[in-house]
């Protein structure tokens, strides 16, 4: 069985494309087998919705009269980058408010922009012959500024480690609240719905792939940072953090429901982004990969009680067990918490499915594939 992007897009335009979510397709393949399923289904939609710290947005705030070259920029009390052209800036998800009490950061500024709320802008600059103004304080919103697009250097991690804590103290980590003495485990991947776990070697996902991003339309811009192909695999699927995507998309058109500021106690702020990637069923092999279920996806549990880059591994576990609420590993009975929302991952894959079925979204052919090789270097 072979199918082309053109054939799929033709069917989408005629509203005849058969689209299933990565969850729905599991049953179909179990019932009918890979060959029959590949013949029947044109596109499989994936989804994930969780903390993606390496996220942010480029904004062009517009020029005032007289104009200012902004060097220090603050949005709702959160510092934005002032090292690019006069009124361009980048607001990053983990930048935290200067205000006492915290609990608000760049991720929340982005959520508020998407929600259409007013944002308090304070900026200052050196004052030059061409940009005479030295300071400005005003209010902006998504509609009042020239440009606003999300650019996330590392999103949609292909799998991620699970975390536990061997010490006798509660730890507040970016993997959530970890109870003492191995009492709980936290994990983050959407498993069987996760974009990069349904196309583990990126046979179909490349630069230029059109995607669901934050409730609007986005694109794969590049390989994500820390793109790693050396993670150990089980049946061709990585058992820890591996490949990543750099994503881009217009903030206008996104929905607050899928762009949410997070405050991870003891760590800082972040942004939960809804990401959904459509996978064209170009061959039986692509379909076989899309049929992967939580039982077949594994991750390793690391001890975050040890503060080292090479934390000890407590054991290996699959996502079906993690989602059951309780696991037993290495003699410890541990309760489990997901940090990403499976309910919203479902919503993302479902929305993307609706868009394709109703001809609101067609598939793009990648301009170039993502790297076949990627390794991580250590900072010495």
């Amino acid at each position: 069985m072979k199918r082309t992007y053109d054939e799929i897009n033709d069917k989408i335009k005629k509203r005849k494309a058969v689209v299933l979510t990565a969850e729905e397709v599991i049953e179909l393949v179990k019932d009918k087998g890979v060959k029959k399923a590949a013949e029947e289904v044109d596109v499989v939609t994936t989804g994930t919705f969780g903390a993606m710290c390496s996220s942010g947005a480029f904004l062009n705030l517009g020029h005032s009269d007289p104009p200012i070259r902004m060097a220090n920029i603050s949005l709702n009390g959160v510092q934005a980058y002032g090292g690019i052209a006069a009124v361009d800036t980048y607001i990053g998800a983990t930048q935290m408010t200067d205000r006492k009490g915290g609990g608000y950061g760049g991720g929340h500024v982005i959520e508020d922009l998407v929600a259409g709320k007013k944002i308090h802008l304070v900026a200052s600059g050196p004052g030059t012959d061409c940009y005479t103004r030295k300071s400005i304080e005003t209010t902006i919103s998504l509609n009042s500024i020239n440009d606003a697009y999300m650019y996330n250097p590392r999103n949609a991690y292909q799998n991620y480690t699970a975390a536990t804590n061997s010490t006798d103290k509660t730890l507040q980590t970016y993997m959530g609240k970890l109870l003492p003495n191995f009492r709980n485990v936290t994990y983050s991947s959407s498993g069987q719905l996760s974009p990069l776990l349904n196309d583990p070697h990126l046979d179909t996902i490349g630069v230029g792939t059109r995607i669901f991003l934050g409730g609007g339309e986005g694109y794969v811009a590049w390989a994500g940072t820390q793109f790693n192909t050396k993670t150990p695999e089980i049946d061709g699927v990585p058992i820890g953090g591996a490949r990543t995507l750099a994503l881009i998309g217009n903030l206008r058109g996104m929905e607050r429901e899928f762009v949410r500021g997070l405050d991870i106690f003891g760590y800082g702020t972040s942004l939960a982004v809804g990401v959904g990637v459509p996978i064209p069923i170009l061959s039986e092999n692509v379909m076989k990969r899309c049929a992967i279920s939580d039982e077949e996806i594994f991750t390793q549990i690391f001890d975050y009680g040890v503060s080292s880059k090479t934390r000890p591994v407590i054991g290996k576990v699959n996502y079906a067990d993690l989602r059951s609420g309780k696991i037993e590993c290495d003699g410890h009975v541990m309760r489990t918490s997901s940090l990403s929302s499976y309910k919203y991952a479902r919503k993302v894959s479902g929305k993307l499915k609706e868009w394709i079925e109703s001809d609101k979204f067609t598939l793009t052919v990648p301009s170039i594939p993502l790297p076949k090789e990627g390794t991580l270097k250590e900072l010495r």
């Binding site: 919705f49 969780g50 903390a51 609990g103 507040q172 959530g176 609240k177 109870l179 009492r183 709980n184 485990v185 936290t186 949410r260 500021g261 997070l262 405050d263 991870i264 106690f265 003891g266 972040s270 939960a272 989602r323 609420g325 541990m334 309760r335 489990t336 918490s337 997901s338 940090l339 990403s340 929302s341 499976y342 309910k343 919203y344 479902r346």
Partner: protein, 137 residues
């Protein structure tokens, strides 16, 4: 029939010497379980679970009230803002009384406020500040 209910008991400076557990066991046939308590010289509060027949529990409450302890049914002490909650599940493994539960059909995080003892442990685990407590001890 045995039932189990939770109450908050409010003590004042003048009745904090009253024995609660012993009297509930010996006179009212109640199985008491003190879930939380914060009481000092000027009084304080206790979260108490009582297991027994409906009549025994009613009689026990009447007794506690007669010695000046204010008794209130413990319910809805934790509140979740549905506009903020993203149903991630960060709270699931932290709740000592299993008040949060994952619905494995819909993947909603269900909250049973009757199980809550207002410990507040989930508050700092919620990345969207969706959970608030109506009462602290």
């Amino acid at each position: 029939m045995m039932i189990e209910k939770k109450y908050t008991l409010k003590f004042s400076g003048s009745n904090l010497h009253e024995s609660v557990s012993y009297v509930l066991v010996s006179k009212f046939n109640i199985i008491p379980n003190v879930l939380r308590a914060k009481i000092d010289g000027s009084g304080g509060r206790m979260i108490l679970s009582m297991k027994g027949s409906e009549k025994d529990i009613t009689d026990a409450i009447a007794h506690l009230t007669s010695v000046g302890i204010e008794v209130e049914t413990m319910d809805n002490y934790v509140k979740r803002d549905e506009n903020r909650c993203i149903d991630c599940g960060s709270c699931l493994s932290l709740c000592p009384t299993f008040a949060f539960e994952l619905n494995t059909e819909t993947y909603d995080i269900m909250l049973d406020t009757k199980k809550c003892v207002a410990c507040g442990f989930c508050l700092s685990a919620c990345p969207t500040h969706a959970i608030t407590l109506k009462m602290t001890l």
